[in-house]
């Protein structure tokens, strides 16, 4: 396991780490948005004293920022709730905001810069008006951008609040409409769970949170927060897998939502890069399902690409192949969401993916 990943997952090793290693850990963590998480981990396992004092200064500072953000986030979610109350649409939070509002393990030290919500597609117009009345404005004013978002994407152009300056992304699906395999939003919305005592502030169910996180990470074309996404997944799996029947339910849900490939990638890379415990039985059943559908990923290639892209985005972790890995994943992200033009696929495979595949499999 690499340095930062070890520091995050194996606090018992901290006393053995040198100051030079800590120096790299802090720098990598800062670039990967995981420095606050390091501080949170230290507090959660009662090992804050095992961190050198100079490391604590930086990690605790990052944690203070995260904690401040969480306070502001709770307030912001309440503002969104009030804005949507008149149109009777509940606030369904996604990603970081959901973890924070539900008080999950994944929220510890998690920086959340904007709020993502999911609304039914048919209510999009009402939601947009209600938000605008309450002071949110669209940020991409360019006609082309507006058209791109509304036609091809699964979300409105990002909104920003006029006076608070906070950012809000309104999604009607968790993956773009042109994605070949995507879950039905109605299905996701019918399974949502309430936050605390409120019926009108909700998040995806535990299973759906895991699957969304996996889908989001493994459909992305740009991965600067890739390791953070993996850490989220690891935290979610760690917390929810204690629930009885979790793994069976997860596999069944992945099948229903057509997210089995993303789940397979998620389980593979959390296990390999973070040591997340995954029952071998679950992996085998998932692999079988993918084989049946002819959806088995080219693991050799994926390992070469994600093995690099999921490292902390710092100069100390890059090698000669890192830029190419990012480039190919960029294309892959687009390919997953573009209409399956046969020519586009053909060109991509022949020109770019094949030479690398031959190299990694040979």
């Amino acid at each position: 396991m690499d340095l930062l990943q070890r520091a995050l997952r194996q606090p018992q090793q901290w006393p053995a780490m040198s100051l030079a290693e800590w120096d790299l850990v802090v720098r990598q963590a800062r670039h990967a948005d995981l420095l606050a998480r390091l501080a949170a981990t230290a507090r959660a396992c009662g090992r804050a004293d095992a961190l050198p004092s100079s490391v604590r200064l930086h990690a605790d500072s990052a944690l203070m920022i995260a904690q401040r953000q969480h306070k502001e986030l709770v307030h912001e979610v309440d503002q969104i709730r009030r804005a949507l109350a008149p149109v009777g649409v509940p606030v369904v939070l996604l990603k970081g905001a959901a973890y924070v509002l539900q008080g999950l393990q994944a929220a510890q030290g998690r920086l959340v810069s904007d709020v993502d919500i999911l609304v039914p597609r048919e209510r999009l117009a009402d939601v947009e008006s209600a938000l605008m009345i309450s002071g949110w404005v669209s940020t991409h004013r360019d006609a082309y951008d507006q058209h791109y978002y509304r036609t091809w994407m699964h979300e409105l152009p990002p909104l920003k609040h006029m006076s608070r300056g906070t950012a809000l992304d309104v999604h009607h699906a968790i993956l773009p409409p042109t994605t070949r395999l995507r879950p039905d939003s109605a299905d996701l919305l019918s399974a949502t769970i309430a936050v605390g005592g409120h019926e009108d502030v909700r998040t995806l169910s535990h299973l759906d949170m895991v699957l969304h996180s996996a889908a989001h990470l493994f459909h992305e074309s740009e991965l600067p927060m890739g390791l953070r996404g993996l850490v989220d997944l690891d935290a979610l799996l760690g917390e929810f897998s204690a629930e009885p029947g979790f793994w069976d339910a997860l596999l069944a849900r992945a099948q229903r939502l057509r997210l089995e490939p993303s789940l397979a990638m998620a389980l593979r890379y959390t296990a390999r890069l973070l040591g997340t415990p995954v029952p071998p039985d679950a992996n085998e059943r998932l692999a079988l399902r993918l084989r049946e559908q002819g959806l088995t990923p080219r693991w050799g290639l994926m390992d070469a690409l994600y093995g690099r892209a999921l490292l902390p985005p710092h100069s100390s972790t890059a090698d000669a192949w890192t830029p190419l890995a990012h480039g190919l994943l960029y294309l892959r992200g687009h390919w997953l969401r573009m209409p399956p033009g046969l020519l586009a696929r053909h060109l991509l495979r022949k020109a770019l993916l094949s030479p690398l595949a031959r190299r990694s499999e040979g």
Binding site: W22, H31, S61
Partner: protein
């Protein structure tokens, strides 16, 4: 050699050529209390500035030290037609490039940015900070108030410098943490200091910057040798220089002093309520004054006569 610095290697123990060579290769590791900074730069004026202004600061061995709070560099961005330079902290470039001639000042500004952006375990306040008789004077002030001349003058007049720009306050104890670095001077104050204290060590002068002409003067050796001594605040003074004016002192109402302090704080919002309470405790502890002066000597005499708060 001043006490407390005898065993360690100081930057002045290296020649300018050695400093330049190190900056161009592995970089210099400097103890800038309370931090350790690793600096790299290919630009000659940066080497000159550091060699002069940090002469008494401790120079560390990178391999032994291992951990630096900030890894910074100032490097050229464009070499022909209006050459530029850029400040970088471990791959982050928070500022647009500046003129090549401002490279040394850029380093100083960049270091301030590092502290205010990444150090939140302390409350950081935009203020000059000096100490006498075990208690601290804070002077929060907007640019153009004459704060930097006053700060340098007080330092030469026997006050210990904790910082010319940034008060670092421990929220729990209320103690101010020293971080003595070169005092930045602007425009007229450079000449005032040069004339009045010819023994002062002045660094590279950068002309036509956003702040006008800028230079730095080396912190006194006493300020550096006592950089580990934290102290409690006693006086909060809002200075205003007005040429030809005679000295006028008014008490500054504490509630407003708190508001001013909070608005001069870089990270009070991160600390939230605890931060506000720490600032309130600071104001409570201090005598707060507005000082309007036209004659530096009169002002210095007034400061010297300051008594501890009751």
């Amino acid at each position: 050699m001043p006490a407390g610095l005898s065993a360690a290697l100081r930057l002045a123990d290296m020649s300018l050529a050695q400093v330049r060579q190190r900056l161009r290769s592995d970089g210099l590791w400097l103890r800038l209390p309370p931090f350790v900074v690793h600096v790299r730069s290919e630009i000659p004026v940066v080497a000159q500035g550091l060699h002069l202004l940090y002469a008494n600061h401790e120079c560390l061995d990178g391999a032994t030290q291992g951990f630096a709070d900030f890894h910074v560099s100032v490097n050229a961005r464009r070499r022909w037609f209006r050459p530029l330079c850029s400040f970088e902290m471990d791959g982050f470039r928070p500022f647009t490039p500046l003129a090549y001639g401002e490279a040394y000042a850029f380093l100083e500004w960049g270091l301030n940015w590092c502290v205010t952006s990444y150090c939140h375990t302390l409350l950081t306040i935009h203020s000059a900070v000096l100490e006498k008789n075990g208690r601290v004077l804070l002077m929060p002030a907007p640019p153009g108030s004459g704060k930097s001349t006053l700060c340098a003058a007080l330092m030469f007049n026997g006050w210990r410098l904790l910082s010319d720009e940034m008060a670092l306050l421990e929220p729990g104890s209320g103690l101010v943490v020293p971080a003595p670095r070169p005092v930045s001077l602007k425009n007229r104050s450079i000449e005032v200091v040069r004339q009045r204290w010819p023994q002062a060590v002045l660094g590279p002068v950068a002309k036509d910057t956003m702040k006008g002409t800028v230079a730095h003067v080396r912190a006194s050796t006493e300020s550096l040798s006592r950089a580990h001594e934290r102290a409690l605040p006693a006086w909060l003074v809002f200075p205003k220089y007005q040429a030809g004016e005679s000295l006028t002192v008014q008490p500054h109402a504490k509630p407003d002093a708190l508001v001013q302090l909070a608005s001069n704080s870089f990270n009070q919002h991160v600390h939230g309520r605890r931060g506000f309470e720490a600032l309130a405790a600071l104001v409570d502890r201090c005598d707060c004054h507005d000082l309007c002066y036209g004659d530096l000597d009169q002002a210095l005499a007034w400061f010297d006569a300051l008594e501890l708060p009751s």
